[in-house]
Subunit: 223 residues, 2 copies
DNA sequence: CGATTTTTTAACCATTCCTTAACTACTTTC
DNA sequence: GAAAGTAGTTAAGGAATGGTTAAAAAATCG
């Protein structure tokens, strides 16, 4: 879940925002002054900052200048163009004028979080205690890394892409030899066997189930 | 210089925007209909799209849904909250209501371009005892400078950009020879070998791990 | 242009991986 | 229950990839 820091000294507005955000749901952190905000930014893992400009302690503009890593959405009653422009140029990512509609606030929050997410797309595949990290080209089981060869990795990836779903032998054979038609079921058997052996070294739990005459799938969570 | 695509059918507004942008200066591409816009998006390298929603041909909303790679700033006379929210949720990055101040437009453009830039900011890259200083174009290991050739530096930079992450052989080959298609894996082997040799002169620790059949990555911190 | 540095080519060996094949065990079919 | 088919394991040879070296080719620099 995403964490949003709300920096706003007016209690009514603060609580209203907090309520809306928590309904979404987001995790909300609260700051009622600029200094408090900076402290939290140091300490906590924050995905987005909602920032009022007129603050006790440190001014909002100062925070904008200092924070470079986290997207900032400025909420302010200041409507003058100069104010808007300056704070945007200082480093804010968006500017919403009070009063605002909560729907627009939520939409603009989503835009910021979406952009942030796009930077680190390529997601991990997980099943039970197994995690396949695409970027690292690495599979972890119970936190330990398991060394799989290229084809073993490809097979596991295929299985992890759709756990519970049966992957046919032909699908897997296509993986092994992209265009060689002399694919061999025998070969596949050996690969599966080797994979199971490597998994067994880490945990007794079975991961790959064979479906007679069809192919393979990962064991169901429950059964 | 950054290229901005202006999609707007009203000639007066279009020309006004174009004039303002070119003064900055940005390179401006023009589209007067949705279909024309899509064509240009396919063909040209564009950094930002300014998009009017009410267009002949394809509707602006459709363009927002289709374009995922380029930031979109929507300019529209539509002021209803639903319209704003919908188009933001569809994928637009910002929304500005007509009429607008050119200062604010420019500021919001800069925000979008800045975010784009931040993804590839210039910072020192570090991994274990190695520091790559982009500005100096120099790599340090245990405080000592290591002399790497141009391609060796490019390879190390690619690896350091995302430690633990696998960089495929093809990615590295693209680096070596930007457009020569006669890239050679053999060549890459030699480069890697030479890099390792230079590192070994400073420390016994292994830095580059090969991922069989895929490429290379930096060794994990722990294992 | 000649001297130096860098990149590519090529040959060779080492290592890892994939397939083959033989054997065993289990399922299904008749 | 025997025969035929499918699954699982193991070990060994061969194929593919990785690593090193040295020399030729290309690029850089004064």
């Amino acid at each position: 879940m995403k964490t949003i820091l709300v920096v706003e000294d007016n209690m009514d507005i603060h609580n209203l925002i907090k309520e809306v955000l928590e309904k979404e749901p987001y995790t909300v952190l609260d700051a009622y002054s600029g200094t408090e905000a900076l402290m939290l930014i140091e300490k906590e893992k924050i995905d987005l900052i909602l920032l009022d400009l007129m603050l006790p302690g440190l001014k909002g503009e100062e925070i904008v200048k200092r924070v470079k890593e986290i997207p900032i959405l400025v909420l302010s009653a200041k409507t003058s163009i100069e104010d808007k422009v300056n704070v945007l140029l200082d480093g804010a990512n968006d500017y919403l004028t009070k009063p605002f509609h909560t729907e627009e606030l939520l939409a603009r929050i989503k835009v910021q979080l979406r952009m942030d997410k796009e930077k680190r797309k390529k997601k991990d595949l997980t099943y039970k205690e197994m995690v396949l990290k695409e970027k690292e080209h690495q599979i972890y089981l119970r936190g330990q890394t398991i060394h799989f060869t290229k084809t073993e990795y490809a097979i596991m990836k295929q299985l992890l892409l759709a756990p519970k779903q049966v992957v046919t032998k032909n699908q897997l054979l296509d993986l092994i030899s992209e265009d060689t038609l002399d694919c061999d079921e025998n070969s596949l058997k050996v690969h599966i066997s080797n994979i199971r052996k490597k998994i067994k070294k880490v945990t007794e739990e079975e991961y790959i189930e064979s479906v007679w005459g069809i192919g393979f799938k990962l064991y169901d969570e429950e059964s």
